[in-house]
Symmetry: C2
Subunit: 147 residues, 2 copies
DNA sequence: GTACGTGCAAAGGATTTGCAAGCGG
DNA sequence: CCGCTTGCAAATCCTTTGCACGTAC
């Protein structure tokens, strides 16, 4: 089924006039099979085995194209570099402040917040983002070893 | 009353062993009277009249100290540079995707989301962030002028 | 007086850009 | 074939850092 998603994405890209180069295909494929919300550099490093001559700029270019076509979301947290993920159905992230791990969790979309915000500010709302921060189980355990 | 907040903040800083230099005072004062969620460079430009010799590094240093003491929050959105605001009681932001304007709005804290996230992921939750995106009234009107 | 803060310049890291050569459709 | 993409290097932008000097307390 992951194959299915990939094929659909490729068809959609072609219909938008975007060419499917081996590098672009590989970036998309990597993101579809990744759960770690990688940075551009993560992707670059993961693919340099298959594409020894690929440059980081190509990764950035492709991420931009994929983002512009709605296939990929860019996550900007406090740390230095952006992270990327396939744009799936609504879910949110919880982020470990100790090790940086990002875990998905499902929650009904916060439509009420959106409509209240629209009412009090006069904005026309398009979307929202939300993340929860905390400490993951592994890091909690490590803290426990202190004493 | 803004004076009052500033004095309280200064006392709190001194108690933490933080020195009140004229530059630090000015950064804090500027943030307390600002509604635009400025970048470090905004603050630098705003204060260069009063402090012609001040360097950007000083602004960054002070923002870090103020953040570490819980007085200031750093906001990292998609754009290149961080924005800063005084750490007030719970509120959220709505951001205009057209002109970048940031407007505060109040909403009860999303405690339910936090506790559900904790339950399903096993994390110990510390806090969350949420923003709504859309188009502000001014930019909506400008779009209306098209036809 | 002493440690912390400032100012300057340089370094660092992420991302973008310009351009010649390559290749997808 | 044409024009989008690639790869490379240089450029850009934001932020941090090292160090000598200054100053808050």
């Amino acid at each position: 089924m992951s194959e299915n998603r990939l094929q659909k994405a490729i068809v959609a890209l072609k219909e938008s006039g975007v060419r499917i180069t081996p590098q672009r295909h590989a970036v998309l494929d990597y993101l579809m099979n990744s759960v770690i919300h990688p940075t551009a550099d993560d992707i670059y490093k993961a693919l340099e085995g298959k594409f020894p001559n690929m440059s980081v700029a190509t990764v950035y270019n492709n991420l931009r194209v994929l983002r512009e076509n709605g296939l990929v979301r860019e996550l900007t947290y406090g740390d230095s570099s952006s992270r990327f993920e396939i744009n799936l159905t609504d879910h949110y992230h919880i982020i470990c402040e100790s090790c940086g791990k990002i875990v998905d969790f499902h929650y009904p979309s916060l439509d009420e917040v959106e409509s209240l915000a629209a009412k009090v500010t006069g904005f026309e709302v398009s979307h929202h983002r939300m993340e929860v921060y905390g400490t993951c189980e592994e890091c909690k355990q490590q803290k426990g070893h202190k004493h």
